[in-house]
Symmetry: C2
């Protein structure tokens, strides 16, 4: 079943661009992963250090697998240290609209 | 320039499914609108009445135009009346990842 997440991260002051770079780096392999339907990394336009990541995957298991590589885990660990606190994570169930489908 | 939004809506108790149906109805025309890159309507998996809508458009102007039809405006008005309050709207700037591009 499709697995979807919205994540809200708050970078420590001045570290937003580093966090964004890490998120793009850690997700680089998703481009060739057919289980990843959407991985949208974005920042707030209102200034501040808010970062949003929207994930849409073919299943929760495939998402978990994609995060298991040593490289990815290392980058994720570094990234967490640049945040004000744990990411807020909202698990959501797609109901429709216009989006990539697996 | 790409225009992206994350919207968090809270339906009045018991009205979540009606709100979701209206959101899908009001967005039906987006399927054939090449300015709409993503329109993801989803509900929280944790119960409650939270609904999330993620929008990605080729420009803010094209998004505004898509909401101007009388049919869409009527449905949007009805939908707002089924919410606990105004939608929370987060305007975001995509930085990368894997997502539809215009």
């Amino acid at each position: 079943m499709t697995y979807a997440l919205i994540n809200r991260l708050t970078a420590k002051p001045g570290r937003r661009d580093e966090v964004v770079a890490n998120l793009l780096d850690s997700g680089a392999s998703f481009a060739d992963d057919d289980a990843c339907l959407l991985y949208l990394v974005a920042e707030s336009t209102e200034g501040g250090d808010a970062i949003w990541v929207v994930d849409l995957w073919t299943s929760e298991e495939r998402h978990a697998e994609a995060l298991q590589g040593d490289d990815v885990r290392s980058v994720v660990k570094d990234t967490l240290a640049m945040l004000e606190g744990p990411p807020e994570q909202f698990v959501i169930r797609p109901r429709g609209g216009k989006h990539p489908e697996g």
